[in-house]
Chain length 200, copies 2
């Protein structure tokens, strides 16, 4: 808009369009929705956003986002400290927790090895992972990394580095998604599900 009248809306649209998956059009739709909605909503959202970075820090043990350090998983005596699940990012922990399948603890790598993007093993928390394995009596390390080129590379690298420790290294199974359809499964996933086939 040319006029002065819509400056505050323009600035909000500009900021919202920086979010992933939100283009200029969607940002406009969101801005007008917020404007049409109860002012209490934008005030609450503003308060949460303003407090976010001071409320949330990194857990000094696992590297996840947390309000208290160590985080609730690391300080929970009910969790099995002998099994460490290694994830790329804190948000991966959220998904795994929701599946209620895993009762061990976590370790956040902070990325995946990607030479083309200049991410070497030194950028990841592999040194801290090694020291945790040695000091926390870890018996199994489950690599819960994406089944992508970067995930595979990183898994192989960590597998090699951990060879000298007493911990067994495993990786999440890759194959057909539950409820999926053979016909619509891509070639690579199908190949993996053959290689990883299990006895009935």
């Amino acid at each position: 808009m040319s006029g002065r009248g819509l400056d505050a809306i323009d600035r909000l649209v500009e900021l919202l369009s920086k979010l992933p998956g939100i283009g200029k059009k969607s940002a406009g739709r969101l801005a007008y929705h917020i404007l049409d909605a109860d002012p209490g909503y934008s005030r609450m959202l503003a308060a949460e956003l303003a407090a976010l970075h001071s409320a949330i820090r990194r857990c000094s043990r696992c590297g996840s986002y947390t309000e208290v350090d160590p985080c609730s998983v690391c300080s929970d005596p009910g969790r099995d400290g002998s099994i460490l699940c290694v994830v790329e990012r804190p948000q991966d922990i959220r998904v795994i927790e929701e599946s209620r399948e895993f009762r061990g603890r976590f370790h956040v790598l902070g990325g995946l090895i990607a030479p083309l993007e200049g991410v070497g093993p030194d950028k990841l928390t592999i040194g801290r992972l090694l020291s945790r394995i040695r000091h926390e009596g870890v018996k199994e390390v489950i690599l819960a990394l994406n089944p992508t080129v970067e995930g595979d590379t990183t898994a192989l690298y960590i597998g090699k580095v951990l060879r000298d420790t007493d911990a067994e290294v495993t990786r999440l199974a890759s194959g057909l998604p539950v409820g999926g359809d053979l016909e619509y499964t891509d070639r690579l996933t199908l190949a993996r599900s053959f290689r990883g086939r299990v006895r009935l």
Copy 2:
């Protein structure tokens, strides 16, 4: 998440998932993106949201959102006050302004007639439109309403109400979109484009 550790993130996800087109998964992605991003971003977004409803009001003349009353379009002496473009919502003005096709002024209806949803003509700013036509010397009223059942109903109703005024009432052309393909055009749009055909 069960633990206390992610409460601030949970609250942000909850609030973000109330936005249109943003599900729980997308809200999570947005929240972690904001968390990973520079804290300056969330602070700026928070400030804009907190100030939004006090910065933006309705223009007392056209009903659009504005920081100053009357809005920049209504107070611009360069705009042609004899042509009024009637829109459903303030965000429609944004799209029309971007097309740079229209140099008149606007009038926001605040909705469309939808009997099933309990929206009658009395909920719209038709009375104010009539008084503007009489007091501002309006010669033409362009109805820029969506080509939907509600838009058609509202256009017909306004056309009838304005019959007693001196203003000519027109409506935006409906037909094939520019760059569109006949083969993929729906039956109703095609029918309209036939009825509205123009001489070369």
